[in-house]
Symmetry: C2
């Protein structure tokens, strides 16, 4: 990987930072955040402005350019990658290390007195603006919104914003019509006494209208905003996508509808002026509900007294609790996904010993098998196909420069998933195609014990996921091992593979309590830098549990794995398992064999079926 | 317990809320927090304003009185007690339940437009003021400081503020001289570039100067503030306590000292004006360090630009990590405490069947045995001596109206502790003097499993205690049982029995990481309303652990019990224990027998020694 040469680009950027054509007053620093106007985790190529200016294209990072300096803040996952992708113009700021200054502190240390710091108000979330602005102001500087994105002004070959056709989802997939979702949303609005709700997150717009898109890779979303009033629905979306008869029919654009369900379609770019118009018409006590992570531009459009901000929107919370149509769809999607992985692992078992399978070939083969399944749409994230030392790079993605050949001497870690029209998958399996060492088996077994501890945990209704995180670590901790990531994230239903508001991580505290119907991942791991990585990940559904005393009728919850892919028994040191853990593995494998076996049979995939049967042989523990 | 009749008091309070004699403008609501001007948990009688106005005297609760309403917020420990102690004028707000409004939301829902909400600025912590003030302002109301405490104006027989003699502690107890503590504090101040540090918490003043007092029951503290500059030390304290030759000698008040260690003694009440004088003399960039829980009045005395606020002060953090003199003292104190409890339980075993022992008698007897031990000072909190249904009241304290007779048919729960000059104890044992039912044993055994899970937990250096909380619940959760309190709190060394900044609770997130030398309690429980309560509590010391892989040299930690009192084996259903848990109990009992046995022998307490030997017989698990 050679770094991007940015000398000329930085010169141009510094020029426009002073140009009256773009800025009212010169700005002495310009912030280039990672995100798009919707605070998406995955972004379209036209929004990869930070990667354009710096060369660093990891998923998290903030660039700040001043007249003298260019600095990049990113976290531990990306220290190596950022250092390789950026040239000497850039200083890497390693977040999480003790001596690394915050962006605010650094700015204060390098800026001349009374500086102006510019940022695109559409790209910076309101909560970040507030923190940054306060810190700068207290040091005598000013954070100022720069309306024209300065990167865009110098990005001559910037790709166009995608505007791909939409997919309509009928009730058999969604379980609830968009009309009923609007009704439920309005009732939440009435509860909180707000008159307007602004939908800014792309997956929330998609979920609300039962539409999907493909504007952003891996995430079936489309660029749009929506503003829901008590009697109006406005959808801000570009292109001729609204000319598609299926979409018109789905949204009933040409039907005679009660006025409160009539959707007004407006240009994507008109959201700000529409919000300003709404704001101008508000009477005292009339409130507008926004996520506190919405952009500064949209938040600022609503005067402070009229704003109602929450960390999680009612759509985010409703979307997290899957209804029976969605859980059935997710179940189907996971069975198909398991079929594809049985095919893949059977194929790898035969091919790896020949020394011809690279990480990229394995990833491509996984995609090929998945694409043979019904309702396959695309992958749900870039496949992490990693062998040996590459497995220890937690967010690794094979590229030609790093591509390693799988062998019978190294552990192979595959973290992959797909979007099917009926559901989203995300599964990690760690395999050895030769003879794992005792140490590798030991580590794998501790990770497995942690995986089981979460998956089999029983807990009272209303428990937050972060309280379960330590269960995943206990077996590792006992031996002095740990992993530096959270244990699980929410998973969308044919939507983003990472979604809020629930999860299982020691890092959060403000997650919403788990409830039946929520879907999260359970993915503890262990990483030995320079040697190997281990992770065992299932997607699991929160379900009611049967307990002897049922928490005084508060109700009991537990998890049911949706992922049904064998966990390689060759990697397990059975003597480290308790009888209960051993039973868990055997029951899990029995279910894989029954459910996925039947589907392999139905699809006539006999060789993969034989592989599945072999891989799901019960473990036997020495008494 | 009959409720306090508050109709007349509330009428008087509502009158002064409108009286120009006390308020600049009438206030429509008045907040009565729990604390004193030092945000103490335990308070002197003169500070029990919330109990005076409402009747509810639990340790946590906030009262708010409006023209129409009187409402009390308290947590799960006190739902029952508050309901019993308050009359119909009061509405109980059960914190932690989903439908309970926050104080802010409730105020907004009941107040007329543009209301003023009053509070004593010395009693409300600055962080609470900020949150409350912001919420009220955004709803069009105002939080206003009312200088005269309105409760004091109607509290005609309010007791005087105590002003008792001081105890000086020499190096054999404290391990570090007050001079060295000041040096260490100043070096922390220099690191953060602050010029002044304001000590507001009573236990921090006591710890810093190696002094103790008895102004507040159970907590060996005295009313004082301190302001530490880089070259000055000011101690704000009343009475003739500074005339005591021992204190003068200890603080070297009459010696020729380097000026930076010369203590200036000032009146307790002059702290605010002194701070204002200091503030007036500050140059730009000169900062004053305060806890963000310091009172609004003191915080406000320092202009915002000069304030440096942190959730935990450097004294709080230094105090939490006990040095070897302190851990040796704590160990000695716990052995003496165990001797007293062996005597007590041996006595109870003989006396309870006679039907003559009440909860109060048992508590008094515990105090009597403790007071026979060397260096005993007082109890460390009000003894919770509770039998049968009273055991389910988590913070129960027997009073004549509720006093129950111990019997061979009910579970007895004793949560008690003492202040010795060498350490502070806090221990809970749950006993049955007859035949416990299978269900009682089952519940007890789950609680024990949780206790062991925390006590034997191994975790990486730097882990926050709240991440261990779920370990204590796992066995209970598996059967659908839980308890509504945290699992542990920090414990002072001859200081407050509850102290920050560490603990083991699902409720906190901002606790400081555990490190070797910290001392916390481990006290899971189970409570069956109307029937019984179970809790098993040891005080445990954080110590380095030996692990196979030692977290890549990050270091491993675990706990060592300081409490050495037998856990009643009669209450244990051995078949519910794993072999590891059974071994833990047997090892623990072996240590109790050896260490406490030797001390009982030394003190010639032969009958209690026999009892100890009987109670520490090893458990045997059916294979």
């Amino acid at each position: 990987m050679s770094p991007k040469i940015t000398t000329e680009l930085l010169r141009q950027l510094r020029q426009v930072m002073k140009s009256p054509k773009y800025v009212q007053e010169p700005v002495q620093a310009y912030i280039v955040p990672s995100g798009d106007a919707h605070q998406s985790e995955y972004i379209a190529p036209c929004d990869c402005r930070r990667a354009f200016i710096s060369g660093f294209d990891g998923s998290a990072g903030t660039a700040i350019v001043t007249e003298q300096h260019a600095a990049m803040w990113t976290d531990g996952r990306y220290f190596l990658q950022a250092a390789q992708q950026m040239d000497n113009n850039w200083t890497l700021m390693k977040m999480g290390l003790k001596d690394t200054p915050t962006q605010e502190d650094w700015l204060v240390s390098v800026l001349p007195e009374g500086s102006k710091v510019g940022v695109d108000p559409f790209i910076i979330p309101a909560d970040q603006w507030k923190r940054m602005s306060k810190a700068l102001r207290s040091a005598g500087h000013d954070l100022v919104p720069v309306k024209a994105n300065l990167i865009d002004t110098i990005w001559t070959d910037c790709p166009q914003r995608p505007c791909k056709p939409l997919i309509t989802l009928d009730l058999s997939y969604t379980g609830i019509s968009w009309r009923d979702k609007i009704v439920a949303l309005r009732s939440k609005m009435a509860e909180r006494k707000v008159l307007w709700f602004v939908v800014t997150a792309l997956d929330e717009v998609a979920w609300l209208f039962n539409l999907r898109g493909s504007d952003v890779e891996y995430n079936p979303v489309f660029f749009a905003y929506a503003v829901i009033g008590m009697n109006t629905i406005r959808l801000f979306i570009d292109g001729d996508r609204m000319m598609d008869p299926a979409v018109r029919e789905h949204l009933q654009l040409d039907s005679t509808l009660e006025p409160e369900f009539k959707i007004q379609v407006m240009p994507y770019g008109s959201i700000l002026s529409e919000l300003q118009t709404i704001a101008a018409g508000l009477s005292p006590k009339e409130k507008v509900w926004l996520s506190d992570k919405a952009s500064y531009a949209l938040t600022e459009a609503i005067p402070k007294a009229y704003r109602y901000l929450t960390p999680y929107t009612p759509i985010c919370i409703a979307k997290a609790v899957k209804n029976s149509s969605e859980t059935e769809g997710m179940t189907r999607a996971h069975i198909k996904d398991a079929v594809a992985l049985c095919e893949l692992f059977n194929w790898l078992e035969k091919e790896v010993p020949k020394g011809t399978v690279t990480e990229i070939i394995a990833a491509d083969k996984a995609e090929e098998f998945r694409s043979q399944q019904k309702d396959f749409v695309e992958l749900s994230f870039a496949t992490i196909s990693s062998t040996g030392p590459n497995g220890a790079i937690i967010h690794y993605k094979p590229v030609p420069e790093t591509n390693r050949t799988l062998s019978v001497n190294e552990i192979f870690l595959l973290d992959s998933g797909a979007q099917y029209k009926d559901g989203t998958t995300d599964v990690t399996r760690t395999m050895h195609f030769g003879m794992p060492s005792a140490y590798e088996k030991e580590c794998f077994t501790y990770v497995l014990k942690g995986h089981i501890a979460v998956s089999a945990a029983i807990f009272p209704n209303g428990t937050k996921g972060h309280l379960l995180d330590s269960f995943a670590r206990s077996a590792l901790w006992d031996c002095g091992l740990d992993y530096l990531h959270g244990t699980g994230h929410g998973v969308g239903s044919f939507l983003n593979v990472h979604e809020g508001p629930c999860g299982i991580s020691y890092k959060t505290f403000a997650d919403e309590p788990l409830e039946a119907g929520m879907i999260v991942s359970d993915e503890p791991g262990y990483y030995e830098d320079g040697s190997f990585g281990i992770r065992i990940e299932n997607v699991v559904l929160v379900i009611p549990a049967e307990t002897k005393y049922n928490f005084k009728n508060r109700g009991s919850l537990t998890f049911e794995p949706l992922t049904l892919v064998p966990i390689q028994t060759k990697m397990i040191d059975v003597n480290l398992l308790t009888q209960k853990e051993c039973d868990w593995v055997n029951n899990y494998h029995r279910k894989c064999r029954e459910v996925v076996g039947a589907e392999l049979e139905r699809q006539g995939r006999h060789e993969a079926l034989q592989w599945l049967i072999r891989e799901t042989e019960p473990l036997v523990r020495a008494q």
